[in-house]
């Protein structure tokens, strides 16, 4: 073979080799036919209990601060009612039972919980090994944390640990999440439920005041906004990290939906109720 031919053949060969070898090409979406890649698909619905049964199994939970490891082989079947879609519920989701409407807060370290657990998503939660208790009277599930005041309570669990304890069931259906009306006399049993408070205005709303400015929060990372004509034990509680934190509060009457959380640091103090807005769409201006 002449030199020119060798040259041509080698050049062609190398060029073909190169152009055939693109290694980061188009990727097809994974196939999730065998279950979501999030969570533990091996969980089965044996030993499913209700939130009421969980409370009955561990009655010591009922204290401003409590922390009990769940040792029984038990599971909850619940539906997501609130998440961190706009950063206001932080490191947690709210869940409710379809049948009873009973609710709890699940504490998980993660900022993308809404992506895997949208509102309406049904979950099977393996409780064994996790902790159940209260933070300020609000029932929560998580792993233990002791704060500076020495109170130990279930707080955000490692996200990978959570994935071992949860199974995604079907697809999300937000219409199945029950919303209660503002109760005339709030009770502990309502803690954590999704609630709508109607025909309200916020104290000091002037068209410029926002839900949670850093200036108003000061050294804190959240701001309490109170309702005109109501007790200061009832409030809208908003994080300065919420996407809508610097959105002006409407001056007109509103229906506001949110997760209705209890905060009572001791039995001799009056309970405070915090309405946690999930996203800006939870605010409906009704007075045109």
């Amino acid at each position: 073979m002449k030199k020119k031919n060798i040259f041509a053949v080698l050049m062609l060969g190398m060029a073909m080799l190169s152009f055939n070898a693109c290694q980061d090409g188009d990727w097809d979406a994974p196939d999730f036919a065998n279950g979501a890649p999030y969570g533990n698909n091996a969980l089965t619905d044996e030993n499913v209990i209700t939130i009421a049964q969980l409370k009955a199994l561990y009655p010591a939970y009922d204290a401003p601060y409590s922390n009990i490891q769940i040792t029984a082989d038990s599971k909850l079947r619940v539906r997501v009612s609130g998440n961190d879609v706009q950063g206001n519920l932080y490191n947690s989701i709210a869940v409710q039972e379809d049948a009873t409407g009973d609710a709890a807060i699940i504490c998980i370290a993660g900022n993308d919980l809404f992506a895997f657990m949208p509102v309406g998503q049904e979950l099977l939660i393996d409780l064994k090994g996790l902790y159940f208790g209260c933070y300020g009277g609000q029932p929560q599930i998580g792993t233990p944390y002791t704060n500076a005041a020495g109170n130990t309570f279930p707080s955000r669990m490692d996200h990978n640990l959570w994935k071992q304890h949860v199974k995604i069931l079907g697809t999300a259906d937000a219409s199945k999440v029950a919303v209660i009306d503002f109760p005339a006399s709030p009770s502990k049993g309502d803690a954590g439920k999704l609630m709508t408070i109607k025909n309200v205005t916020i104290t000091g709303a002037d068209g410029t005041k926002t839900w949670a400015s850093k200036a108003e929060a000061g050294t804190y990372t959240s701001v309490k906004q109170y309702f005109n004509g109501m007790s200061k034990d009832i409030m809208v509680y908003t994080s300065t990290y919420a996407d809508f934190a610097n959105t002006p509060i409407p001056t007109k009457k509103m229906d506001i939906t949110g997760v209705w959380k209890l905060y009572q640091t001791s039995a001799d103090r009056s309970p405070q109720w915090e309405l946690i807005i999930r996203d800006i769409n939870d605010i409906k201006v009704i007075d045109d």
Partner: protein
């Protein structure tokens, strides 16, 4: 022989200056040169090559015709990412046929653009800082001019095949040259291919896929004129390795652990893929005016296409080595307090998760798809996506040099460099990972401004447009630069002295042309109260006049002894990549933007005799008014942050020793040693801007004493070279130490120092004190202990090679095996960086944040590859 060995030992220990033998010039052997050249590009790992536009480049292949240390150190110390005198590679100028090819935006040269065409890059005219050359006033880290003329290459063909367990696994190259024909034509071409995939590359989750080509044709007309046209390029696709913490390396039980890849549907996928192609063409006219005058002019044009992908998110950081994923997130493993049972359980759970399966410590792409698909169903934007950063350039450069031999002892070289560069910087959506929706929204600003406010949009000109795969988003701007430079070097031999004087003068201008109308800066109130658009359209032009001079002398003291001295002072215009506060968002130049001033000096002694070549060199360089820039996610501020340091002042000084002791005609011993210092001379003024509000803030950075990172500041090498009957053997023992990691400026800003000095760690005041200034602000006065820079572990590495030349069918077949890190030292740190997050800090509003995870104890590092090899076969015919 015994006497020579004893003398060599004495020389190594005592550094004699007084004795000498008959002078004898002994250049590095062609065999050694060939070995270096052939393998230089292969020895470096991907990160060593400095191929990435978005990270500090760190390789300098400086060379010298006269200095044993300078001509060998770059190659020998390359496995430890050695930087010559710890200089940034922007101080190393590269020329092709006399035209400068450093990236005009950052001053650096990307050696990977000439990777795989080794046979085309063998002819180099190199000079160190105080050596005169024919093509420039040498930069402080040296200058090199590659000869790309077709007639320069020998006639014949060559095939090279290589196998290795490094960043690529296989290489093939073919070279063809005609030499100069009787009709005055010459053709030279070479083509190479380098390859590895995810399963064969040394670092798991990386691959290398690169075709290289070089072609040149030259025509000579008589003895006076020649035209050469050369074109080259190397389209390359490769996956990157990421640095990680010691905790991650421990959990993975792998010092080459790479957090940048993961599994998708059971297949390995990298989140960081670089595509780079820089097709270049150069026309060179050589005009030999007469026997004493020569004019060389080259016009070069190139179009750079550089892109790198990155997994981004607006949810939880999906990288496996995110700090909240580590076991040490659960309790302070550095503290004195024992963990509670719950803390230990959490630590154990996390440890078990990391160590149970490799899948758990890599990116889970399936989950990212799942998340985005769920979000699709709810009408939300995707929160996980792979973006591509593009740094493209269109560049034209002209270089012309005039070489005039005035008489046999006097020469004058002068030249002109003119260039224009358009840098095109933008980001595109590479893969929505199963998502369907994405909007060009500044999520950092969402909490700062009202829902839907203009300030939350990256481009008001396309406010509501959906971003689809391939679309531009977040930023899009051009950086324009034009520059011209005149230089001249005059050399004169007089008596025992060889002297030179060089000078240069240049002018440059730069501006930004914004192509997105960033909402934060669309109606910006400037310092004079005027409302201006700071983002869209052209900025003002910044113009600079720079220049400088240097001189050097070499005194031949006779009997092989020589001393040399050089000194210089120059100013250099700032580079566009550091000239803007936040080029991704607006047109603002860094405040007090001015020329960098550089004083450099060097004193050397050389001994050159029949059996010994030795150089001892001391150097001192002082730079003033430098500008540095970096960007990163600032966790304390919950915002992306752009940081500029201006008025940077640094010292570089040290000593180098190079000895080549020829014991017999076929056995030599080399000793190289370097001790270098490279550090900030004073604390530096800083400006930073948060992308969530767009306001520039000024502070001071307590970076005095911070060292240049990613290079050993102390290195020693002892090498043995032996050849017999066509075989040759090299063995080098190298020791590296004083390896610093890249410091984090914002961890040394005044606010961060105030947090530290107010913390319990400073209970005894050993970290410094705080004063209140006249304006009521607080100023930190940290001690050195408060600003200690993170270091990596040095160590010993043994490298060897063996080669032989056979004859097959009447032609030479060269076989060479190189084995690096024979002792398999995997604990040698080659670089890394401190994390830019605070463990404990006070928010702007006065809130205190105290974290369990200790960022300052967990810098991210790279480690040297363990024992590795390359086998080369080349056949000439």
């Amino acid at each position: 022989m015994t006497k020579k060995l004893a003398l060599a030992a004495f020389l190594f220990g005592v550094m004699p200056l007084g004795f000498a033998q008959t002078p004898a010039t002994e250049k590095t052997s062609e065999e050694d040169d060939a070995l270096k050249q052939d393998n230089a590009a292969f020895v470096f790992t991907e990160s060593q090559l400095g191929e990435d536009d978005d990270v500090t480049q760190n390789v300098i292949m400086v060379n010298s015709n006269n200095n044993v240390y300078t001509s060998n150190a770059g190659y020998l110390f390359s496995p430890a990412r050695y930087k010559f005198r710890a200089y940034n590679s922007r101080y190393n100028d590269i020329y092709f046929n006399g035209v400068q090819v450093n990236n005009p935006e950052n001053g650096q040269f990307n050696y990977s653009t000439i990777g795989g065409i080794n046979d085309a890059t063998r002819s180099i005219d190199a000079s160190s800082v105080f050596e005169a050359n024919t093509f420039s006033m040498a930069n402080i880290a040296g200058s090199s001019n590659y000869n790309f003329r077709a007639g320069n290459y020998a006639a014949g063909q060559k095939v090279t095949l290589s196998g290795a367990n490094r960043n690529y696994t296989a290489r093939a190259m073919y070279t063809f040259g005609t030499g100069i024909t009787k009709r005055g034509w010459a053709f030279f071409g070479t083509m190479g291919y380098r390859w590895s995939n995810m399963n064969t590359a040394a670092v798991e989750g990386t691959f290398y896929n690169s075709l290289s080509y070089f072609m040149a044709v030259q025509k000579k007309w008589g003895d006076h004129h020649a035209l050469n046209l050369a074109t080259w390029g190397n389209p390359t696709e490769r996956a990157q390795q990421g640095a990680s913490t010691d905790e991650a390396y421990w959990l993975a039980n792998d010092y080459l652990y790479n957090p940048y890849w993961g599994y998708q549907d059971g297949k390995k996928r990298s989140s960081r893929v670089v595509n780079n192609y820089e097709p270049t063409a150069m026309l060179t006219w050589d005009y030999k005016i007469n026997n004493r005058m020569k004019l060389t002019t080259s016009l070069l044009g190139k179009y750079v296409m550089y892109s790198s992908t990155k997994l981004n998110y607006s949810g939880t950081n999906p990288h496996p080595d995110y700090w909240k994923n580590f076991p040490s997130y659960n309790f302070n493993v550095w503290g004195d307090t024992a963990p509670t049972e719950a803390e230990f359980d959490a630590w154990q759970d996390s440890y078990d998760y990391w160590t149970t399966s490799k899948r758990n410590r890599q990116i889970d792409f399936d989950q990212l798809y799942c998340a985005n698909q769920q979000l699709n169903a709810a009408g939300h934007d995707a929160i996980y996506y792979i973006e591509t950063k593009h740094n493209n350039h269109l560049n034209f450069s002209l270089g012309s040099t005039f070489d005039y031999t005035i008489d046999k002892s006097t020469k004058l070289q002068t030249g002109l460099q003119v260039g224009t560069n358009k840098g095109m910087h933008y980001q595109t959506m590479h893969d929505l990972l199963g998502g369907q929706y994405f909007h060009n929204i500044n999520t950092y600003a969402q909490g700062t401004y009202a829902d839907g406010a203009n300030e939350t949009y990256y481009d008001l000109n396309n406010k509501y447009g959906q971003v689809k795969e391939g679309d531009r988003f977040r930023y899009d701007y051009n950086l324009m630069q034009q520059n011209a430079k005149l230089w001249a070097t005059w050399t004169k031999d007089k008596g025992i002295s060889h002297n030179f004087v060089s000078a240069k003068i240049g002018g440059s201008q730069m501006w930004r042309d914004g192509r997105m109308n960033n909402g934060i800066f669309a109606n910006y109130t400037d310092g004079e109260g005027k409302t201006v658009n700071l983002s869209y359209g052209k900025s003002e032009k910044a113009r600079f006049l720079d220049g400088g001079f240097k001189m050097g002398t070499n005194l031949n003291l006779g009997r092989g002894n020589a001393i040399s001295f050089g000194a210089g002072y120059e100013t250099r215009a700032p580079f566009a990549n550091t000239a803007f506060v936040s080029p991704e968002m607006n047109n603002n130049f860094v405040r007090n933007l001015t020329n960098e001033r550089i004083f450099s000096s060097e004193l050397g002694y050389a001994l050159n005799c029949k059996w010994l070549q030795m150089n001892i060199t001391g150097y001192f360089t002082h730079t003033f008014d430098g500008t540095e820039w970096q960007q990163f996610y600032n966790d304390n501020e919950n915002s992306f942050t752009y940081n500029s340091l201006y008025g940077v002042e640094k010292y570089y000084y040290g000593a180098e020793l190079g000895m080549k002791f020829k014991v017999t005609s076929n056995f030599s011993i080399n000793l190289l040693g370097s001790i270098a210092e490279s550090k900030y001379a004073k604390n530096t003024n800083a400006t930073y801007m948060l992308s969530n509000e767009g306001k520039e803030k000024n502070t001071i950075c307590f970076n005095k004493g911070m060292r240049e990172s990613g290079t050993p500041l102390a290195a020693v090498s002892l090498g043995l070279r032996y050849s017999v009957k066509g075989w040759y053997f090299n063995l080098n023992g190298n020791y590296y130490d004083r390896i610093y990691l890249s410091y984090s400026p914002n961890m040394r800003y005044n606010n961060a120092m105030l947090d530290l000095l107010n913390s319990s760690a400073n209970a005894d005041g050993s970290l410094g004190y705080i004063t209140t200034e006249a304006d009521g602000s607080q100023l930190a006065h940290p001690t050195e202990a408060a600003t200690t820079q993170a270091k990596g572990k040095g160590g010993f590495m043994l490298d060897g090679s063996i080669g032989h030349s056979f004859r097959v069918a009447g032609h030479p077949l060269n076989v060479n095996l190189m084995v690096t890190n024979i002792t398999n030292n995997r604990k040698l740190c080659t670089g890394g960086y401190e994390q830019s997050r605070s463990t404990n800090y006070t928010t702007a509003e006065g809130g205190e944040v105290n974290r369990t995870y200790n960022f300052q104890k967990n810098p991210k590092k790279f480690y040297a590859q363990g024992i590795n090899f390359m086998l080369n076969l080349n056949y000439r015919f």
